[in-house]
């Protein structure tokens, strides 16, 4: 027997046959259809009708029609709950704000402090490392006055950081998140972010 290569769902990470138990089934199905159409057909049949899939399961399941119906109901509830939670999380992300601050240390030396990243599931330490090597400078994660984590970069790299944060958010499908830059030396605020469209 050779080793098996099991496909794992790109949405919920389970083998796709267990997607129905994660509450993310809708998105899981979209992913599976796009990435493994053959497996999609095997699990959900040729058409997209949920009715057919449920009927198929009923015929196979040993737990009886009544329990199966209750299970399906529970799973549907789970899915609604999960979707609501995802919506709430997305709303929270969209309403939060990333702040990039430029501070003068001496006449010619600056530090850049980035805060407000914590809600975006970004690994701060990793990002700090990325910045350190990208700009060949010192970069660390520290706690700011409000006890929130922020990334502090040595050097005058405001524009580059701004561009990088924008691309990072875009990658996560969050390009509408506000990014505010504060330049304390110039004593001038310039709001950035949400496109007017």
């Amino acid at each position: 027997m050779p080793l098996q290569e099991v496909v794992y769902c790109g949405v919920c990470s389970y083998p796709p046959e267990y997607c129905e138990f994660t509450g993310k089934l809708k998105r899981c199905k979209v992913w599976l259809k796009e990435n493994h159409p053959d497996l999609f057909t095997k699990l959900y049949g040729d058409d997209n009708g949920d009715v057919a899939a449920v009927a198929g399961k009923l015929a196979e399941s040993s737990i009886g029609e009544e329990r199966e119906e209750k299970l399906e109901k529970d799973l549907l509830k789970l899915q609604t709950k999960q979707e609501n939670r995802e919506q709430r999380e997305l709303a929270k992300k969209l309403s939060s704000k990333v702040i990039i601050k430029r501070e003068a240390r001496t006449k010619r030396k600056f530090i850049i402090a980035i805060s407000g990243l914590e809600v975006f599931e970004i690994d701060m330490k990793k990002l700090a490392k990325t910045f350190a090597s990208k700009f060949a400078t010192g970069c660390s994660v520290s706690k700011n006055a409000e006890k929130k984590e922020e990334i502090v970069i040595q050097g005058d790299v405001l524009e580059a950081v701004e561009a990088y944060i924008h691309s990072l958010l875009k990658e996560k499908g969050l390009k509408d998140v506000k990014v505010e830059t504060i330049d304390t030396k110039m004593k001038k605020k310039k709001p950035e972010g949400a496109p007017t469209a």
Binding site: S62, L71, L75
Partner: protein
């Protein structure tokens, strides 16, 4: 076992020397003899094995970045990633469809979920109490959990109530989602 596991629980990480790699592979095979035919494929000679020591004496072993087995005491226990690659090497039981969502929430498995029409237990003499078992599910191809028998499979059949399998590791738990970098 991994319900509350986080990265903060990691004490140390170290590379496993090739002499110890051989011992580990031999131990895996002695515990799960069917692994013998695939062990060199699972853990190739030049693979990078890392030992990650964690809280509560839990030790994870990664092979080229993927956690394939772990131990708390002497016994090596496969992760689901390893089981999925070569499922037939382990003592296995099956739960019915109704039990799946409870298993995925990390609960211990109740005896009736193992004895109903959709479930499967081995014929007598079966497995002893404390055996590490892979848990499959009705109409599913792949395992969804690893557990430890709290009574022998024959006792599960005859008692048919209470907890039958202690949950160790299941799809979606922190060990499942753990990545090394």
């Amino acid at each position: 076992m991994f319900r509350k596991f986080t990265r903060e629980d990691i004490h140390s990480r170290s590379k496993v020397k090739s002499s110890i790699q051989r011992t580990l592979k031999a131990k895996l095979v002695s515990q799960y003899p069917k692994l013998e035919e695939v062990i060199d494929e699972l853990i190739p000679k030049k693979s990078h094995i890392e030992l990650i020591k964690c809280e509560d004496k839990i030790q994870l072993y990664t092979v080229d970045g993927e956690v394939l087995f772990f131990q708390q005491f002497d016994e090596l226990i496969p992760t689901l990633r390893l089981v999925h690659k070569f499922p037939e090497a382990y003592p296995t039981v099956q739960v019915d469809r109704g039990a799946i969502k409870f298993v995925l929430s990390g609960a211990n498995i109740m005896c009736p979920g193992l004895t109903s029409a959709g479930a499967k237990l081995p014929d007598a003499p079966g497995y002893e109490k404390d055996t590490i078992v892979v848990i499959n599910a009705e109409n599913k191809e792949h395992a969804l959990a690893i557990g430890k028998l709290m009574m022998s499979t024959e006792e599960i059949k005859s008692h048919n109530k209470g907890h039958g399998v202690e949950m160790i590791h299941h799809l979606g738990d922190p060990l499942w989602t753990f990545t090394t970098d």
